[in-house]
Amino acid sequence: MSSKILLQTLNVTQRFGGLVANSDVSVSIRRGEILGLIGPNGAGKSTLFAAISGARVPTSGSIVFEGEDITRMPAAERCRLGIARTFQVPRSFDSMSVAENVMIGAFVRHANATRARAAALEVLDYVGLDGRADATAGQLTPPEKRRLEVARAIATEPKLLLLDEVLTGLTPSEARLGMDLVRKVRDRGITVVMVEHVMEIVMQLVDRAIVLNLGKLLAEGSPADIVRNEDVITAYLGDRHRAA
């Protein structure tokens, strides 16, 4: 195994009763890249995301992070190892201030509250929320809440950051700011995996994309290759489009 690979899924399969949400999915995440995990609704993106982040143990197959099998490792332990995530619907701690929210993440690396606070404030500055440090998390606007999700995750000092549709539902200008932030995060040395189903946004941002369809790996490659891939076009737009 090359050390260029940060995380691998090996034949990951997830069944829910009769439904196969992920079928034999083997993908690799390379160190330092921004990887897009895309596919139409119901493709199995969120299921794969859950398996990687530790929210759910897959029915079969394994997840390997830096050579270590983490298939059954609880999410909190993965976080300490260097895997952080955001939630599709922001799940801030609404009784706490913005800075305190980020401190929760920072406590993974700093046992002392003063140091965790300093680290949190630095991250808030980095993501552009420094002016909101003392606001209550519940007072933030939706795009600010997304930013807070990212800030909290960065505060855990991850090697791998999993973003669950952080750009979905934003206005074009908000999405552009979001994209700038994702690039900034990568420049910090953090590998980024982003689940999105809106192709237009993702393709401008990612180095590489993995396309899932009906639970299976459909295509993998550079954005330019993916948008020309016949299977991908069919999956997104249906057979009739190709015929036309």
């Binding site: 952080a84 701690f93 009784s95 500055d125 420094d130 909290r152 855990t156």
Partner: protein
């Protein structure tokens, strides 16, 4: 990062430290003022009310550690209170071991039991957890009722002896009890104050707000709950041990009935859960009210004070769900 932002961030941290210092100074002033009360109040009945108020404030503050900060609503803290009361009583009456030590033994036993029970009950969520704690406390009550070694239904009478700080027995003067209760409240308050700004305190609040998000950020959710339960049970039991020494006679109903579980939860709920001053404020309102209704409306009519609690809680839930303390903190814009 520019120097300007750096210094503004530092300011934010400094403002936080200043706030913490202010909280300590307010606490020192409040506790000092309370400590002066016995100078002006010679009436034994009123002293009694004050002692109970301080005791319930301390125990409710302990309840608040698990229920308020960690968000695990227990309706069975009478169990830990009872264990503290019984540990202190049995050790003193049967083995001549001073209650100071008995209280700590009760505290350690309760903390251990809280962890053991937590292994089973912390998989339950919300109401289911609350119901489980209630049922377990009732089981404890029945067990003690039928356990002859600890006096069964008859209970335990502390022997009459000379007044002594060592045995915590003061037949003539209530004031030493007052200072012990105040001391206990100060200790629990300080423990809460320190924990509030520690990793455990932050973890507890994260677990309360959103356990799944907390877990994803590296918070050990299950261990956090166990730790909160242990600390909470420990101080509840110490309060129970003190109560036994104070009333000199305990039986299962008088330290372990459901009524106590309610009386530990209600002050915190009334004053504001998960805050430093909610439980003391709630106790300062509820306990005198309870005692006064009990003495003026007849001791046997124990239903009426419960009706008043119910009405109060409903009023708080409707008008100020964050508790009465929010009336004071709203102005400054910050959280207490």
């Amino acid at each position: 990062m520019s120097d300007a932002t750096l210094s503004s961030l530092k300011l934010s941290g400094d403002a936080f430290l200043a706030k913490r210092r202010r909280q300590l100074m307010v606490a020192a002033a409040v506790f000092a003022a309370v400590a002066c009360l016995p100078l002006g109040i010679g009436d034994v009945y009123l002293q009694n009310v004050l002692i109970l108020t301080l005791l319930y404030a301390a125990v409710s503050q302990s309840w608040n550690i698990l229920g308020g900060y960690c968000g695990q609503i227990s309706l069975g803290h009478a169990l830990y209170f009872g264990i503290g009361a019984y540990a202190a009583s049995v050790l003193f009456v049967n083995y001549d071991i001073v209650p100071w030590f008995g209280m700590v033994v009760g505290g350690v036993l309760s903390a251990a039991l809280a962890v053991a029970l937590g292994f089973m009950t912390f998989r339950l969520k919300g109401h289911y957890f609350a119901i489980a704690t209630l049922v377990i406390a009732e089981i404890g009550l029945v067990l003690v009722h039928n356990w002859d070694f600890v006096g069964g239904a008859l209970g335990i009478q502390w022997p009459f002896g000379a007044d002594s700080i060592w045995t915590l027995q003061f037949a003539r003067d209530k004031v030493p009890y007052f200072y012990f209760a105040l001391g206990l409240l100060v200790v629990v308050w300080l423990v809460t104050y320190v924990i509030e700004n520690s990793r455990w305190g932050f973890w507890w609040r994260a677990v309360k707000d959103d356990p799944e998000a907390a877990e994803s950020l590296g918070v050990e959710v299950f261990r956090s709950k166990l730790a909160a339960a242990a600390v909470s049970a420990f101080f509840t039991a110490v309060g129970g041990g003190f109560y036994a020494a104070f009333v000199s006679y305990i039986d299962p109903e008088s330290v372990m009935s459901f009524r106590f579980s309610l009386l530990f939860a209600l002050p915190a709920v009334l004053g504001g859960i998960g805050t430093l001053w909610g439980a003391p404020l709630g106790a300062a309102i509820l306990i005198p009210l309870t005692e006064i209704t009990r003495s003026y409306l007849g001791g046997s009519g124990s239903g009426l004070d419960l009706i008043i609690y119910g009405a109060l809680i409903m009023a708080v839930a409707l008008a100020k769900p964050e508790g009465l303390l929010s009336l004071f903190t709203r102005k400054s814009g910050g959280k207490a």
